[in-house]
């Protein structure tokens, strides 16, 4: 997947890096929306990271004639543009951005509607209201507690009245997120954590009002608000994590909706969206374009990268009449294809459906916190009921005391610590992994990764670098290598890049010309030379003595170099394993994990790679559906597997696995699907991701343990009527702080 990889890299911002990787500019015309004589466009920008990026992009945009508004949101990576109708050619916008080194993707206007983060704002508003009310009510409550004995009943009643006036409306407003979720759960005839929370809030408010009306000493207005305040913090942290994951996924989906160049009957090119293509349409594919639908080549001859289908990294030549699957990347020269299927029936769409199916099965995963809640809710509610019945039957204190004590049990056991336990740990763990270059998509991804017992790897681009590297450099003289590199440096073909990578920077042959689909010819050190396809190189050489060594394992790809007066030299290429692949796999095995290799590539290549990295269990020639089938079989046997893969053909298996990881160089859809995306040249981040998720799990369980311990101490106190509002407040804030501090320990290495 090398050709995609270079453009998706998230490392470093282009403003700090000299010459940017060329990336084909997309045509966002179909995504422009018109309103009130203005045109608007929103683009996702990849790679913008600092103040220099902001000012560079915004200045360049405002520099385009006609643009009246340009603002880049660095948190979401969205660039909003406005211009007078017809004043700007949208293509110019993306070309300018590509010139600056930033890749842009346009959003489908339909997906934009859900863009505003209304839920997050509602949570923040609730948090603000709860905080305001809590501060003021505390002021009054502390006075009441401190003035016990000295404060007259009248003043106390006044304070309770003011507290009630603040607390009741504010608490009812701030608790809306919990009420909504609780009613939804009850309607579905189940109970989640929000049911006891809502119940505790409502009961503590009502009992406080009752107490106040009857001149009682204790009210729990502050307890209700404190509960809401802490829980809203946890809820907001959780929401932020999910939102980040969702945005990342949507940006990557936007990348896939790149527009397509359709050739009309009179030879005019028009940009359309992939889903508007009809069967029989003629589509122009320039080098760097992906086929948007399945079709047949009508004109042209070119090398294509088919790794999306079979994971094979070597480029393949295709000619007129051959079939092209959607997602195949055109590498060298322009092709004209005729659509045979519409986008919805094409291979990529099928892969997308497989991904969705996998994600649905993943959403059935029950988070630790919810599992704890399922255990916790019935216990607490029966304890409260028991308290109520106990006081009513065993003591003559009366109904009022029984109700107050039952409610006290509910309030004091309310899952303050439980609500914070998981989100706080997950935020800290995510932050720590982010510093090491590992992006975590969701909180439960951490939980799932900590449970796996088998790591399944893809080959191309995951265990290997995914590009063509020179395999027989030791057999080629340094002089020949340098000469070949002089030609190879002018080409962007994967094989040419493989030569340049092994030789490094140096001279470029001045009159080198790239002949499409053949290779590069030019004058090297005073003599004509050619580097490229065998037949083409041998046209000029009358030397036929060059031979294949029968003992050699067939390389993934080959090229020949010939210079006048010498016999042609064979260059062999293969896909080299990543530097730390062997070591990482060894460590995984040492830790007792199973390791398996699933690849779509040819048998002998997969076998060789499996031997090199030390994986005993491997399969080759697998289609995307075979990979998911294997994972599902494993899951049926009770084996929880983590899939590591990068190709688009891995996306369905990434979705189907219990947890999934993807390198930052992976195909967009795979990055969108994977739970973790790691940066860097190696696969060792897998070890760290797993280690941190294991630690995070331990912290979450510790926190739950602490919450349980706290309840064991607090419940008897509450049940026997010893809990005053002061004790409730101390216990609740104390337990919340212990849980948060325990989570913070994870930030230390």
């Amino acid at each position: 997947m090398s050709a995609v990889s270079e453009t998706t890299s998230l490392q470093g911002c282009p403003s700090a890096l000299a010459p940017p990787e060329q990336s084909p500019a997309i045509d966002p015309t179909p995504h422009v929306r018109r309103a009130n004589g203005e045109e608007r466009l929103e683009l996702a920008i990849f790679g913008a990271k600092c103040a220099a990026c902001i000012s560079k992009i915004e200045k360049a945009m405002l520099g385009l004639d006609g643009i009246v508004f340009a603002r880049l949101n660095l948190s979401t990576g969205k660039l909003a543009l406005r211009w007078r109708e017809g004043a700007v050619d949208p293509r110019e916008v993306t070309e300018t951005l590509a010139g600056l080194g930033y890749r842009a993707a346009a959003f489908d206007p339909e997906t934009l509607k859900s863009d505003a983060d209304e839920e997050g704002r509602q949570l923040l508003r609730s948090l603000g209201v709860a905080g305001f009310a809590l501060a003021n009510v505390m002021l009054l409550s502390v006075s009441v507690w401190a003035g016990a004995g000295e404060m007259g009943a009248g003043v106390r009643a006044l304070f309770h009245l003011v507290s009630a006036l603040i607390a009741v409306p504010c608490a009812l407003y701030a608790a809306k997120p919990f009420f909504n979720s609780a009613t939804a759960a009850l309607r579905a005839r189940s109970a989640n954590m929000d049911v006891p929370i809502s119940l505790a809030v409502i009961l503590s408010l009502s009992i406080s009002i009752y107490e106040f009306l009857h001149g009682g000493e204790h009210t729990y207005f502050d307890a209700a608000l404190m509960l809401l305040f802490f829980l809203l913090i946890g809820r907001y942290l959780d929401h932020r994590l999910r939102l980040k994951a969702r945005t990342a996924a949507r940006d990557l989906v936007a990348l896939q909706s790149i527009s397509v160049s359709r050739l009309t009957e009179n030879g005019v090119l028009e940009p359309v969206l992939a889903r508007e293509i009809q069967i029989g349409d003629r589509i122009l594919l320039s080098p760097g374009d992906r086929a948007p639908v399945d079709g047949i080549i009508e004109d042209g001859l070119s090398d294509v990268d088919q790794s999306i289908i079979n994971g094979e990294s070597a480029p393949k030549q295709v000619a007129i009449g051959e079939k092209l699957y959607s997602g195949v990347l055109n590498l060298t020269s322009r092709l004209v294809m005729r659509a045979e299927k519409i986008a919805d029936d094409s291979l990529v769409a099928e892969l997308t459906r497989l991904v969705e199916a996998g994600e649905q099965s993943k959403s059935r995963y029950v988070r630790l916190a919810d599992r704890a809640a399922a255990l916790y809710v019935p216990i607490v509610h029966s304890l409260a009921l028991l308290t109520f019945v106990g006081w009513l039957t065993l003591s003559d204190a009366g109904l009022r005391v029984a109700v107050v004590n039952a409610v006290a049990v509910l309030i004091i056991t309310c899952p303050c610590a439980l609500g914070l336990a998981a989100p706080a740990v997950q935020v800290v763990a995510t932050g720590r992994l982010f510093k090491s270059g590992i992006l975590v998509k969701s909180g439960d991804a951490l939980e799932r990764l900590s449970e796996v017992d088998l790591f399944v790897f893809d080959k191309t681009g995951t265990l290997t670098f995914g590009d063509m590297r020179l395999a027989n450099s030791e057999k080629i003289s340094g002089e020949v290598l340098q000469q070949a590199a002089q030609l190879a440096r002018i080409s962007r073909h994967p094989i040419a890049k493989g030569v340049v990578a092994s030789v490094g920077p140096g001279l470029v042959s001045k009159d080198a010309v790239e002949e499409v689909n053949c290779g590069v010819s030019g004058i090297v050190d005073g003599k004509p030379a050619r580097f490229g396809r065998r037949e083409w190189v041998f046209e000029l050489s009358d030397d036929t003595s060059a031979h294949h060594d029968p003992d050699e394992t067939p390389p993934a790809a080959e090229a020949w170099f010939w210079r006048e007066g010498a016999s042609p030299v064979r260059f062999m290429f293969h896909d080299a394993p990543r530097n730390d692949a062997i070591e990482t796999i060894e460590k995984l095995k040492a830790q007792g994990f199973g390791v398996e290799l699933l690849s779509g590539d040819r048998r002998e290549i997969v076998q060789r790679m499996a031997e090199i990295v030390g994986i005993k269990k491997w399969s080759s020639g697998l289609r995307p559906t075979d990979k998911t089938a294997r994972l599902e079989n494993l899951a049926a046997d009770g084996v929880k597997s983590a899939m590591v893969g990068d190709g688009l053909n891995d996306a369905p298996s990434l979705a189907a696995a219990h947890a999934s990881l993807s390198p930052g160089t992976a195909a967009d859809a795979s990055q969108a699907t994977a739970d973790f995306v790691y940066q860097g040249d190696g696969i060792s981040p897998i070890l760290e991701a797993h280690m941190v998720s294991r630690k995070a799990r331990r912290r979450v369980l510790e926190n739950f343990g602490f919450a349980a311990l706290y309840n064991i101490c607090a419940v008897p106190l509450a049940a026997f009527g010893f809990v005053t509002p002061l004790i409730a407040a101390l216990a609740m804030s104390g337990s919340s702080m212990v849980v948060t501090l325990n989570a913070m320990r994870l930030a230390r290495k």
Partner: protein, 51 residues
């Protein structure tokens, strides 16, 4: 004790002002791009334009 009659309203008023400011900031989109805001203070190209 009569001090309470104006101290409590003052406390509430101050808290209310804080809350109103927060809601205003939220609704005017100031929480939309926290990373961008942190970076934008470093941009000094507005100075060059004035001189």
């Amino acid at each position: 004790m009569s001090a309470l009659l104006f101290l409590i309203p003052i406390a509430l008023l101050l808290g209310g002002v804080g809350l109103a400011a927060f809601v205003f900031a939220l609704n005017s989109g100031q929480y939309e791009d926290l990373d961008g805001a942190a970076q934008r203070v470093l941009m000094d190209d507005d100075l060059e334009g004035d001189e």
